[in-house]
Every structure is written in C-alpha cells, then in structure tokens.
Symmetry: C2
Subunit: 548 residues, 2 copies
C-alpha cells in the first residue's frame, strides 16, 4: 500500500482554504498512485482552534468540510483530523477524532484518548477522552490509528492511567499511524524521534508520523513528519518548517529504507532551527492576519537588529520599514550601526527625533514633576514617545509593529510597558539575550550581516547618559542561566542555589521575575521556541507574594 | 456538633498570611465552642495558584503550612483545602485535596474527583482526579466531604462520567460538606443555590457550603457560604464580598433553622452585587500587589466617571487622582461634567492639555504624513498622548492606572491599544455599555453622584470634531444584545439572526469582534462579573479567518 504523508499549513477556522489544500494534496497523492493519504491532527479546522470549538456552527462546518474531502476519496482512502460531537449524554461535548474515509464514505472515527492539558495545551477544555481503542482496517491493513499524545504515555512520563497502545496491540495491528499537532521547541525534534522510536521498538511496529507545519500566532509547528521501521530505524524525513507531501510504499516487511544519507538533509542545527522557526512565525502571522508590511524601531542595539533581519527574511525587504528614533541620550554609534544594517539589508528607513515631543511632555508635566530627580518616569517617557510614532506610522500606512523584546528583559521587567514592549508580535521574546547573540553570530557565519560593532558593544537601553544594562542587571550569562532554571525547569530558589549560584543574586532575580507578571500580562504574543515561553504556556499569579 | 464556616480572603502563595488568618479563625471557633472548622478549597495556598503548583517547593510550603494549622487543632477538628502530591507512579503529580485534621493530626485526605477545565478553570492542568470516593468520619459524624465541582455533575449538565456522590451515598453519610472556590458572576449565586439544593434534596442530606471570598486579579470570589437542610431549605447565609466566620449547631435532625427573615439581609440585587464585586476587585488588586493609590484619566464621559466612583469606594478619596487631559476636540461640557464629579467625590485632580504634545508629534510626522486626511492614526495619537502623561504620573508618584474600557468597546475594538486601553486593571471591561448606564443609575438611586449630564449626553470618544459613538457603532441596546448572544451564549451568526436581529448587522458586529482579538490579547486583566468575560476564560484565535 502506497501511503502519502500530507504535511500542510492549516489556517484555524478557514475551512475553505484548509479543504482546498487538502483536495490538492489528494489529487497529488492519487497522481502518485497512493492508496492512503494521511493528514495531521484536527487538520480540517486548524490547530489550535481554541474556543471556536465551543460553537456548534464551527463543528458543523468542520463536518461539512470532511464530507467534501470524502467526495474526492474514490480510489484513495484518507485519514483526516477533525472535531466531532460526543453523542453520549455524558462527558465533554466533543471528541478529537481521526476520521477514516474509504470509497467516499466515513468508515471509522477514532477518538483521541490522551488529552494533553499542560504548558500550551488545554485539550481537556474541549474534548472527552476516548473510552475504547480499536484498530482500524484500511484496504486490508490493520492499523493502530493514534492521535499525537496517544503515543506519549511511556513508562517514564506516565501522565495518564493507561495508554491506548496497550489495548491496540492486543488486536495485532501491522502499522502505527500517528497524526499530530506537535509544536516546535528547541528540544522537541529530538524528543519526538525518541518517543516514536520507543513505540516502534516496544510494539515492534513501523510508525507513520504526520505533523502539521505553520505558525498559529505564538505556536510554531515545524512539521518534520517521518516514517520509522519496526526496529526504530528512521526511513524517511519530511521537510521542517515547510509544507511537504511525500508517498512511501508499505508492505508486510515494513517500509523500504531509502538512502539514509538524504535523511538529515532536511534537518538543521539548533540555531538554524530557531532562525527558520522565527521566520515562519513572522511570515504566518502576517499571512494569516492578511497583513503584508512590518515596521520596526531600530535602536542600534542587537535585539532590533536581529528582528529587522528576520523580518526581511520573512516578508522581503520591500515590505519592511526601519525607523530610527534618537533622543538626546542616543549615542553616535546607535545611528551609524543602525544605518550600516539598513544599508546591508537595503530596507527603507525613516529617522525621526523624539526630542521635540519629549520637550513638550516635560513642559506639560513640569508643574507636577517640579524638580524631582530624573528616574524611571523620564526613561519611560522616551520609550513611550517612540512607541507613539511607530504606532502612528503603523496606523497611517498599514504596517504591523514588530516587538523587539528578548526573553531576559521580559523576564526581569527591563522594558517599558506601552513603550518598547509594544508590537503585534514578539519575535524574539523567547530568546534569552545570550541566545540573541548566538543567533546573530550564526546569521553572520558566512557573510557579515549584523554589523560587528552591534555584536561587540555593551548592551544599553540609552535612556539616560552612559547607561549600560550591566548597571542594573547581572551579567547575561549568569542571569540567563538562573532564568532558565526558574522558567524552563520550574526549579525553586533553593534548587537553583544548589546549582552553585549566589543566593542573594538568585533571590533578586526571582523577585524581579515575579514582580513583573503584571507587565507580561499585556505583552504581545511571543513566538515560542523553547519548552516554556512567556504567554499561553506559563500562567502565574500577578499578585501573589510568593517565593518558591 | 458545632461547625464553623470560615469564609476568608486568601492571597495566592502568601502562606504566612493565609496561615495567620486561618489560625485566627480557629481561635475564634474554639472560643465559640465549635468542634469542627471548615475552610475553602485550596485555602492554604490561595485559589487560583496557577503554575506555582508546578514548583515542588510550593507544594512543600503548603504541606508545612497544613502542619502549622494542625498544631492549633487540639480540641477542634478542621477541614483544610490544600494541594498534595500524587504518590502513585501514574497520572498528574498533584491532587486537589480536602485535608481532615483531628487531634493535631491529619486523619484523612480526600481528593477532588471532578476537575473543572472550561471557562476560567484549568484544574486538569495540575491535578489527577480522585480514583476512590469514601466518606470521612469526624467526631462520630459520617460526612460526604466534597470539593466544589464534585457536587456539580447533575443529570442535566453531565460533564463527567460519574459523580462522587453516587459512590458516597452508598456509605450512608449524615451530612455533605462542600469546600469551594467558586467565582462570582451575575448569574452564579442563583445557580449555586440551585445546584446545592438539588444535591440536598436528591440525597436527603443537609449541606455545608464554604466558599472563599476576595479577588485574585481578574476573578472575584463572592463568598456567600451557606447551610441548607436535607429538604433543600436554606438555613444560614454568610456575607457576600466580605470575610465572615459563623458557627452552627448540627445534630441528627440537621441544622436548626434560624430566623429566615435575616437570610436575605446579606444578599444584594444584581446592580448591588456588581458594584460590590468591582469595589472588592479594585481593593484586592491594590492590596495584594501592595499598592495604595490609583490614577484615572477622566474624560467627562460615563465610563471614566463610573471607574472614578468605584475607585473612591475601594481606595478612599485620598488615594485617587483624577486627571483631565483635554485636546482641541474636547467639548466644553467634558471639562464641566468631569469637574462636577471631581467636586462631588472630593478627589484631587490635575488638568493637563495634551495639545502641545500633539502638535510636536504632528510636526515630527509631517514629512511622512504630508497632507493625508485626518484618520485613525491622528485619533490614536491623542489617545496615546493621554496614556503617556498618565503613565508618567503613575511611574513618578507610584499610582496604578485604572483602565476605563467597557465590554462593548473592548468587543468591537472601539478603543486605542496603548492609549485608552492602558491600565493595570480593567475595572468595567466586563460591563456592556448598557450595564454601565444601569450601574450608574443604581449608584444615583438615592443621591445624585454621577452628574445627570454625563448620563444623558450622547457617548463620544471626542477624537475628532462632533464625533459620536453612534457614527460608527450600532445603538448600544442592539450591539450589546448581539454581543451577549455571541460572547456569553456562544451562539453563531445564524442562531443570532434567528433571534430577530438584522443579518447584515449581526455579520458586521461579529466581524468586528473577531478582528480585534489581537488587541484584546494585550488588554489588562478584566474584573469578571459575567459568566464569560474577556481574558483568561475566553480563548480565541487571533489570526483565523472564521465565521461561526
């Protein structure tokens, strides 16, 4: 049986587009003589569809779209991810389903049993877990059809009471198919291969793994669908961060191993992955919101330089506007460094001084501020004055402002709410400052693109004379290491100190993180590239007086 | 057995404060000769503790706090809500537990079985459901000890496969105790009574219901704990929106009915409830974040007038600063109406023109804007100029800016991001514009407080000459009715049209709501007073092209 893996980029709720893409893939698969085509989890409606799932009309639309797909499946069978109503009187109103279509009819509907409800996942919000697990027979092949998390309940991460495969294996399937919506993080590709490999080896079955690709606001799905044989050997690797449709012959001996040299061609090293993930994140945000043009405030520092580069990669230089917004505290090199990058990337730029606006504000506030010393208020006025101008250009000409905050500063609150925290999308809000440097160096690996002076000068917000980040923050190497323990590993104060960090410093950093939850509540969506990003996957009280 | 209901205001993660409050309540209960004191769900750590629950150190702190409570329970028994580790190798790492303490020892630990995971609830994110349900015997009384949702699985809302009471009733309990963390909404008090009454009648058992009070950022818990007899008759009603500790005698005949006339004294009509809810919401936000002073931009319109009134109620007039920020488009009555309210409420005020700042911005942008017509960009510049000044005063003097957006404008995006959408807390973001009027009239029921002219003039953003809300929005009566169907009832387009609304209008309104998800992503926390508020309880894709 020839099986086609259809790794597509779905738009949540855009049934017309999703159906269209799926029909095209079916046509291609038929052309290649495939007998079965496999789409990703909840392909028909896009993942995550969030509370759209609460609307009856939405589920009905999904059902109609499935029927349209079915019409095209004459010679070919299909597996389609879709939400379906739970017709029992008990439990949640929906199931997360894999629908099997043969001869233009729905022949099986398999329900997902393990519903991830942690980090960015909240599937139990919508879905009832499957009560029974049965294999399906498609064109004579007995298939353990599973949905994403269904394969993830291995012994050492036993988050659920039982695993669907424990039941399914008793029915002697010949093949595991797993349809997934598994988002990218910098550890996920390796984890995914390991998990699927353990299933293959434990159950002595080949596995077809089909993931979606595409960014849905903050979540970036990398695709990277693959095939593994019963011995855990990877046979095929689809593209990462790109749509891909490929067909493979399956018989009683499993899948024929292709030249394994080509397997890794589609894979990237960590910095390469992050770069592609962020570019896709920007591209899809604009595409799916139906915008074309981005505006970026270019400070001369490394963060905005990186975001400008990524925006150009994603949208094309003709769709990106850089705006330099100096104040009297901006250093000479801020302008020259920013202009060097503008020239290298050949993007349009404006240079607008914010000083007149700041003078007007200072004058209006003088009756109240009097002769109080220069402080946070005055610093924030500068940052917010820049935001007003950027947003005005955005509103007038239809640009979307890209935010340039990094994860380190978001963590400790080293940024101005309604100032440099503005933007429709936070591009590098899940990159610690040290990773920002790593990524820039990676980008410069062959040809210098980010000016060397931006990489080598000491980071500064330039909101007061001779300011340096290091005036108020620990060195980024230490800060980032502590933050990673706290945010990504949920390690408490004592556990972090036991790693060898100075107790007072750890305490200070954790306090800064906790004290700035209220700011992050209002931050833009952050493109997620680590297992724990700020945003939907991390929910902390903003008002608790806590120390963990 | 004398039972004390301890309805307290807990701070998430502040174990010291929570323990202190609970020990005080135990002392009072012992004083009153009580034999059992009952605290709310997850009392020890506060509800919701969110991802603090992911930290081992947090669970250990909770455990230590429980042991401190136990020390004080010599003559008295106690029921304490707390998170506990799941010691099995399978399932989520925690249980949501009710811990029974007798003679200074933990004698039983009951796990919650039904874990709400919808709207603002996400308990399955953290907790494993109970596998077994057994009654507990405290001082000879057989008690069906349940935790909040455990009593909510009645036939007509059968969200779960089975109900704990089905098992518990077989063990012949004499009393149901339910410890809860049930947030306020304008329909919740009636629903709660009905649900508990159905349990009382169905199982022929009296019920002790103990809720927490206090606001946790966006969620307002109203308390309103009560006792019901086996016939469903309510025997006692604790205070709403206030801490309250009361003791009641229970014997084999149930609870002795007190004078039922006094029962309703503690209850309020809907507008009275909403007023108290919002006042508590503001008060606790400031108190738990350790702030004292609020700043409000006072436009002369009804929204900011209402927020100013509520802030004064919550924080005291000495802690509230009103700032009038007129531009050349502000009408004469905006100043006079605002000043009338300032004088009535006797709050401090500043009057700062934004015109000089706007002129400076216009000049800076002129090379780019040239002679393009006045539009959204110019309107937003005004709104954002006000925000800069408000935030500057906030940063300089330690005020928290209160946001004044209402639910109708948040819904359709009739507000400026980083402008009038600024603020640490959205006070009336869950009140439709029509409800804003209702509440103001309620506040004025005895003495006119909100100036009549503010109530009678046509609403306007005053961002261009002679602007009226009705220029770009449908009448609020129609808009709000449609929004309520869409947001609170999850009714799709066709279902709403079938209610008799004009199809084109419904389509237009729904499109406006969908198109503004990206703005709401960055809105402040909204005090929740309806069953479906913007914020944590409503998660919609911001980039889907959808129509439901």
């Amino acid at each position: 049986m020839k099986i086609t893996l259809a790794q597509l980029n779905y738009h949540p709720g855009n049934f017309e587009l999703n159906t269209h893409k799926m029909l095209d893939a079916i046509a291609q698969a038929k052309n290649e003589g495939a007998e079965l085509i496999v789409f990703a989890e909840l392909a028909i409606c896009g993942y995550p569809a969030k509370d759209l799932l609460d609307f009856d009309a939405f589920i009905n639309q999904a059902n109609e779209a499935v029927l349209k797909i079915a019409e095209a499946c004459d010679s070919i069978a299909a597996i389609v991810g879709a939400p379906v109503f739970n017709t029992s009187e008990k439990g949640k109103r929906l199931f997360n389903a894999a629908i099997v279509i043969e001869q233009q009819k729905v022949t099986h509907t398999v329900h997902k049993k393990l519903l991830p409800t942690y980090d960015i996942f909240d599937e139990y919000r919508y879905f009832e877990p499957a009560t029974n697990c049965n294999i399906v027979v498609i064109k004579g092949t007995k298939i353990a059809l599973t949905i994403c998390e269904d394969l993830w309940n291995l012994d050492d991460v036993s988050l659920y009471q039982s695993s669907p495969m424990e039941q399914l294996i008793l029915q002697q399937p010949e093949l595991i198919i797993n349809i997934a919506a598994s988002p990218y993080s910098n550890t996920q590709q390796a984890t995914r291969l390991r998990v699927i490999q353990r299933n293959a080896i434990q159950y002595k079955l080949p596995v077809v793994y089909v993931n979606q690709i595409g960014a849905q606001t903050d979540l970036i799905f990398d695709g990277g669908s693959f095939i593994m044989n019963a011995n855990g050997q990877q046979i095929a690797q689809l593209n990462v961060f790109k749509e891909d449709i490929q067909s493979f012959e399956f018989n009683k001996n499993g899948f024929l191993a292709k030249n394994t040299n080509s397997l890794n061609e589609n894979l990237l090293n960590e910095m390469g992955q992050i770069e592609q993930a962020l570019v896709l994140g920007i591209k899809d945000y604009f595409h799916k919101l139906q915008f074309k043009k981005a505006i970026i405030g270019l400070s001369g520092g490394i963060d905005s330089a990186l975001v400008l580069y990524l925006a150009v990669e994603a949208l094309g230089k003709e769709n990106v506007l850089a705006v330099l917004l100096p104040s009297k505290y901006s250093s000479e090199h801020s302008i020259t460094d920013a202009m060097a990058l503008v020239n290298t990337l050949q993007v349009k730029h404006h240079l607008i001084s914010i000083q007149a606006q700041i003078n007007a504000i200072d004058k209006s506030l003088h009756p109240y501020f009097n002769d109080t010393p220069f402080g946070i208020a005055e610093e924030n006025i500068q940052s917010r004055s820049r935001a007003i101008l950027l947003m005005a250009l955005s509103n007038k000409f239809g640009y979307i402002l890209l935010n340039t905050s990094n994860k380190s500063e978001l963590a400790v609150g080293y940024g101005t709410l309604y100032g440099d925290m503005c933007g429709g999308l936070s591009v590098i809000g899940d990159l610690y400052k040290t990773v920002v440097y790593d990524l820039c160096r990676y980008i410069n690996r062959n040809v210098p693109i980010i000016p060397e002076n931006i990489l080598s000068k000491a980071p500064s917000a330039e909101l007061r004379p001779n300011q340096k980040d290091s005036d108020s923050l620990p060195p980024y190497e230490v800060l980032d290491a502590v933050l990673k323990c706290y945010i990504e590993a949920s390690m408490g104060k004592n556990a972090i100190i036991q790693q060898g960090f100075e107790p007072a410093l750890v305490e200070r950093i954790l306090k800064m993180v906790n004290a700035n939850e209220w700011k992050r509540w209002q931050a833009p969506p952050v493109l997620r590239i680590t297992p724990k990003a700020f945003g939907t996957g991390r929910k902390m009280p903003i008002e608790g007086i806590y120390s963990v």
